[in-house]
Assembly symmetry: C2
Homo-oligomer: 450 residues x 2
Amino acid sequence: MEFELSKEYAEWLKSAIENQDTALIAESMANANPTDISSLLYEFNTQESKYIIELVPKEVGASIINHLDEDTRTKFLKNFTPQEIAQFIDYLDSDDAVDILNELPLVFREETIGALEDEEQSRYIQELLRYDEHTAGGLMAKELIKANINWTIVQCIDEIRRQAENVQKIYSVYVVDQKGKLLGRVSLKKIILAEDHAKIADIYDPEIITVESHMEEREVADIMQKYDLEAVPVVNLQGKLIGRITIDDILDVITDIQEEERQIMAGISEDVEEDDSVWMLTRARLPWLIIGIFGGLIAAEFYGLFEGDIAIIPALALFTPLITATGGNVGIQSSSIILQSLANKSAFEESFFQRIFRMILVAFLNGIVIASIVFGVVLLLGKPFTLAAVVGLALFSVVILASFLGTITPLILDRLGFNPALAAGPFITTANDLLGLAVYFSVAHLLYSL
Amino acid sequence: MEFELSKEYAEWLKSAIENQDTALIAESMANANPTDISSLLYEFNTQESKYIIELVPKEVGASIINHLDEDTRTKFLKNFTPQEIAQFIDYLDSDDAVDILNELPLVFREETIGALEDEEQSRYIQELLRYDEHTAGGLMAKELIKANINWTIVQCIDEIRRQAENVQKIYSVYVVDQKGKLLGRVSLKKIILAEDHAKIADIYDPEIITVESHMEEREVADIMQKYDLEAVPVVNLQGKLIGRITIDDILDVITDIQEEERQIMAGISEDVEEDDSVWMLTRARLPWLIIGIFGGLIAAEFYGLFEGDIAIIPALALFTPLITATGGNVGIQSSSIILQSLANKSAFEESFFQRIFRMILVAFLNGIVIASIVFGVVLLLGKPFTLAAVVGLALFSVVILASFLGTITPLILDRLGFNPALAAGPFITTANDLLGLAVYFSVAHLLYSL
């Protein structure tokens, strides 16, 4: 049976596992891409998955485990001994190895590292474990090709040959001095085209973009994207070359940041996926819903202060949804525009006051337009002039205030080191409901002189 | 003055331009990264920018223009003749060239292409212009290294030398047969390590992942991310190698999709940035606000049907913000969870009914919890039992209905070919306001038998 990502193959495999058709399974997997085998495993329980992984070469098994998502992998690895896991870890790049080890319970992790056969790998791992996961140091791999500036091309090629099996993807060779200080790079293309006796010193490119080990992953992503880099060398404070970050890891960083932001904006408090357990999904959604509930209850209490007004002018109540909804929409719009410019910071930032000023202008224009539309329509609906005026004026004020809140909240959160996306979530809508009611009834009191 | 991205340098440059210090400026830019010069140009008007670009070598100028954002570039290129632009286009990779040409007015574009000196480039461009921008064909570049399967390594290296200046970044050499059909690839690493007399046929890797020219950019991005590819070859229906997509273009695709999604979720109808003109920002924000307004006005009219009830039980009004806000929050949560699983489709999808069933379960749990909290608190606030019951029951029903809407809307939009993110935007909140009111007052009628 030919390997393919299909229900048919999955079913064939299930029965093959039951009948212990070891040979058949191994054969059908022989040419399969490890990544595809990973996707297939989501259809199998951990025992079946273990059975499959033990049938393929350790190197393939390592890559399969590496491509599983974190939750699945954590569950899955519970069925292995530290010694078994170590055998796979030996085949992984140091950065992937560390990511997986970080998911293991501390003691278990120590035992696994202890059981590694490849000493260089275990040295690499112990160094990488010292860096915060979300910094350049936490993203980098130790596998890279280094060439001394005094070498010739031939020496450089020997080094590539020596490292060939450790470093799967080589984009360029990094040039260092005696002390290991990074001086520049030579692309593989240049190496191929250079004469054998040519010296690195004569052909290397000293203009090289680097990142420091403590730099935040988000910043690293911006740099690699801005300069179209497929790999970036990591240096320590002394400028010594200590690792390399490849673009595939940055892609994952970018999508993780994106998903996290979407979840925050949607008021989801845990990293869940649609196919997670009902319990996990509930737990992820309840917190913000409950906060929203209390916001709503406060709104109700607050609203209660004006119960008298409604008793006198029941029509006042009718427009509260309009007011609160508009406040919410304006707030989300403003904050997400700020979010975007926080996400791609330019070299020349607008000052805080420029921002506020421009925001006020925009709000003013928006406010005028929608307030007059509503004022007109409410009159057309045959409501009294004062009511139309109250709704229109309240709407205008709400737009101004909501955009102000929506603009400063993310800026403040960012300044305080929180995720500014919080400001585009349920938080701002709840706040705006209260704000809307307050403004609405104050205006009503003003014009009705209740 | 040393080039740097700073206000100081920008000011120095401004004055240097006034004094026409051509030599000084050219010198200070000599070692600057073109990308950095692009970022700097945002601080300058189009005349100043043109002055700068004419001082640097054409190749650098081309790269500077290539790194400007679309709006700035469009404004900027208005100051050039087709002949002037063509000189820069000659230096760009075909994919970047096409992106820029697509931004020019049709006639102007034709003249520019006519003015190209590099005939190969103009052939490439005319071919690429035929593809839809958002497909693999629209992303690919024609520049790549091809080797015939019967060649030796030496012949392959000669080809690399011949193409060296056309193809800036080489990741691997693509192996084709006589007819140009793609057979596999050889990594540069393998080429460096191979013996000169070795044959491509003996060392190439036939297991290669490809994309077809008509594939959607989103899909291409998923594939390159899933398989950690830094470049992917593009083939036509006959399997002939016709181009290559590199990861830097995919990074831009991913961030564009992300920004578009955020804007849709925030109810912003145009691709705007915080520093766009007040007018643009207003134009981008008004449409959804106005739609929201009419939603609110309909809500008011609808609400009016129950004005009588409020006259009898004014307290009923107090909890409308709570009901509508909760409906909104639940709706956004549900739809954004669906959005996420639409974004990373797995090989084995849940069926529509599995999704709905699991969603109902989650909604049920959430509903029970917050309904009972609210029921309790309302009682504690000393409100009558019936009112507490109305609010609690209404809230429960709203949670169920809002998650149902939030779940099916993105699925339906996706099926119909619209962007499902629309379902996580103002659209769903507005719909939920109406839904909430309807449910709330129906329940009130039921329990109060008004």
